[in-house]
Symmetry: C2
Subunit: 132 residues, 2 copies
Amino acid sequence: MTSAEILSSRDIKPSLPRVLIFDYLRQHRTHPTVDEIYSSLSVRMPTLSKTTVYNTVKLLSSAGIIKTITIEEQQARYDACTDLHGHFLCTDCGGVFDFDTSLPDSRLPHGFSVATQEVYYTGTCHHCNKNK
Amino acid sequence: MTSAEILSSRDIKPSLPRVLIFDYLRQHRTHPTVDEIYSSLSVRMPTLSKTTVYNTVKLLSSAGIIKTITIEEQQARYDACTDLHGHFLCTDCGGVFDFDTSLPDSRLPHGFSVATQEVYYTGTCHHCNKNK
DNA sequence: TAATAAATTTGTAATCATTACAAAAGTGAA
DNA sequence: TTCACTTTTGTAATGATTACAAATTTATTA
């Protein structure tokens, strides 16, 4: 399915900025920040505003089309893959990596309804462990 | 064990601000923000600086004595309970609640070493679900 | 104890990600 | 084309966090 089709199916008008941003996230699974999305796309679309990137990732995230990753204090990252998987932050190089994970066996208090589930690990990645 | 003893055992000098902040976190399991810690303690210790609260929670967190919770984009929260448990953010009232969770069965890529593990859920809490 | 060195705390001023907001631009219907 | 509505944009706030240097406290040495 194209990005525009996915947006339309969620009643989000597939404007050019929205399609570009969603496309970018679908093609770059590096969990980019708003800044990285903006810098990359403003080459192709010089009129793009960073505010539009902020607006769009918030729109897509609340529609459940992308995920907001808050593994770092400094800034949010975004992920077009909404399938269940964990995120690993390397505190050496700052990279964020995916890993396979099952859902933990959780006992929520009665009456709680779940919207999103995230598993965040931090540590040192393969590459940074080598350089020691 | 007293807070001062725990700090000492980690080679952190148990100064008054450090003990007060750590004590506060041990007694208030509500996952307070820096602002909440500062506001509460500055009544008893008017000379306390917010910078000291920032410095201290960073110190305690990197020593592994407390946990930094980044479930929200806006600000970090802190938790003196380092036992394994999940955190649930109610997107209606903003409260953060603990819940029991096992470790998910995760397959990390080879060579990755783990320092911290977090399970974050969002949704609606018991109380907010009632008011609907 | 006094003097000195080291560690800690403090207040103020940056930094910087995010949001507010209103004007501008774009889109679609009559 | 005109009008209403949505989206985008740029600028100016906001607000959490950090940098930093001065002030204070604590520890050490003589």
